[in-house]
């Protein structure tokens, strides 16, 4: 594409060196700005525009002239917010987020602290193993776990049957939520662990050596010194995990062939996909996606405001 190969600094030879110097940064930024406008700014504007439009069908709706696009005001938004399918998907994702984010970050923090405390053996092996799922795409990990949940393949069913217990089917009813959540926790813990561990490694050790010499236990050191210091990292990982949670799509979409409990509107994103590409109703799909985007912004900024006083207060 021309937009990507253009390297205007070469062309931006002005009459003088200083003129050239003035144009140079814009030359360096040009490919990024062009791509940003084409694939980020323009699509956002277009989505907002579409969300206020609708299709009007006249007569029997036959023939090309019978359908016209008209302004719809806020009716797409009203319809989306009143749609029980949408509200149910939002509720599901909220619950899913409440399961995934604390579990994943809790485990990541625990593992990072254990790696940092130097009291555990096999630290290199464990760190590598726990980080490994990061190399597995969400579709593939959903596939692997999907089979591990499948009766007849799963080792858990063998185990349960041996004990004579009823086998809970992870693909039915409410349990499927945990089945999907487990995949997200499995995939995300390792990376977050590395982020927190990196922050921990940079804590000057004098900070807690004194406390340890005074007889403070490792747990006390972790709770009183280490966790407060890495709190900003934890907050950022929490915000980005929340954003990712709201957009969950690949895992449930991959598991759908295996489970009847996952509908085509199981998460908000799946509903947008269905509305836009199965039903061809781009307008309400656009409205729904704008609502989700707005909710993402409000949630992440709200969360940051809520916690930043506590987390960053000590930096001043």
């Amino acid at each position: 594409m021309t937009t990507t190969t253009a390297a205007p600094p070469a062309r931006a030879t002005g009459p003088s060196t200083s003129g050239r110097r003035r144009l140079a940064p814009w030359g360096f930024l040009a490919p990024a700005i062009v791509l940003f406008v084409l694939f980020l700014a323009l699509p956002i504007a277009y989505a907002v525009y579409l969300s206020f439009r609708t299709e009007k069908v006249s007569g029997l709706g036959l023939g090309s002239g019978s359908r016209t696009e008209v302004w719809a005001g806020l009716s797409n938004y009203a319809a989306a917010l009143g749609d029980p399918e949408f509200l149910a998907s939002v509720g599901r994702v909220a619950l899913y987020g409440l399961i995934v984010v604390p579990t994943m970050l809790g485990l990541a923090l625990l593992f990072a602290l254990l790696l940092d405390s130097r009291r555990a053996r096999t630290r290199t092996f464990s760190r590598t193993a726990i980080f490994l799922p990061y190399a597995v795409p969400a579709v593939i990990s959903s596939l692997l776990w999907g089979f591990l949940y499948l009766p007849g393949v799963s080792p858990f069913y063998d185990l349960f049957e041996r004990f004579g217990w009823d086998v809970p089917s992870l693909f039915d009813g409410d349990l499927v939520m945990f089945a999907v959540a487990n995949i997200a926790v499995w995939g995300g813990t390792g990376f977050n662990m590395i982020v927190i561990y990196t922050a921990l490694k940079a804590v000057p050790s004098e900070l807690y050596e004194a406390a340890e010499l005074d007889g403070a236990s490792q747990v006390a050191v972790a709770l009183r010194i280490k966790i407060p210091i890495v709190t900003p990292s934890i907050i950022m990982t929490a915000v980005f995990s929340m954003i990712a949670t709201l957009q969950v799509f690949a895992e449930p979409t991959t598991l759908r062939p295996l489970s009847n409990a996952i509908s085509t509107t199981w998460t908000p994103l799946m509903k947008v996909y269905r509305d836009a590409f199965t039903r061809g109703d781009l307008y309400s799909a656009a409205a729904t996606s704008v609502i989700i985007a707005a909710a993402t912004f409000v949630l992440s900024f709200g969360f940051l405001r809520l916690v930043q006083g506590r987390a960053f207060g000590q930096e001043k």
């Binding site: 990061y134 597995v136 593939i140 499995w186 590395i194 990292s233 957009q247």
Partner: protein, 309 residues
Amino acid sequence: MTTLTSPLPADAPAARSSVRRPTGTGRRTWRGAGERPSAVATAVLLLGALYCLLPVVWVVVASTKSGAELFSSFTFAPSTHLADNVADLSAYRGGLFWRWMLNTALYAGVGAMLSTLVSAMAGYGLAKYTFAGKNAVFNVLLAGVLVPAIVLAIPQYLLLAELDLTNTYWSVLLPSIISPYGIYLARIYAAAAVPDEVVEAARTDGASETRTFFQVAVPMLVPGLVTVFLFQFVAIWNNFMLPYIMLGDDRLFPITVGLSGLLNQGASQPAMYTLVITGALLSIVPLVALFFALQRFWQVDLAAGAVKS
């Protein structure tokens, strides 16, 4: 896709901004009672490792089983059909699977390459020049980090459809090139790794701005740019929704969309399951190999990036 990709690019600045350079030469030279090995700590870490390895070990074992054994033999009992399964998979519709692998390498490799170049240029432009509107440009680009893929998906599809580009390699490649997070990282690296005096010296020697960038700045930026490349490579490799929406022709699919489709067929033809499992194994081999090869680099680089800021 989402839980894996989105948290990762965005987390690193948190690590970067919150850490300070460790003081002294060797950290923790002190050894005290606190460093006694603890069985509980070891056990907890090993449990975590076991949990993370379980599906990976399973797929290695399962890909050695025949279709019938998959449902009859014990989950972790290996068998001898790996070669048959790979042969079956390779024969599936004239080697379609290997085409998916190549497509994935193309999308992730070329996409991340171009993305790194665009990010490096933009980051350098922002870090090494002063000009009117600089902060506005940076803030607008950075806001892109927070834009959820969902708002983009439909309009990107419609816009590319206007240009007749949907269902082509371009439809996946082009939207993958712009990376606000990559630009952000490149700016940090350029500010830290390329001294102003060096740029000034190159100019005094008569080098053009373009030449200064490619021959002086880029070599100094290489370690940082590898990180930008890796993040974007993994992000594109993981991305499911974009190719899922854009592509209809299964010869253009990346591996994720391809295997997801195979699993779908498996619902009616369980024979497909063996293909899906073998395909899953083969598809993670290159990624895990890359991961191990660069593991030291990941660690070092996360830390090095942290120290630099």
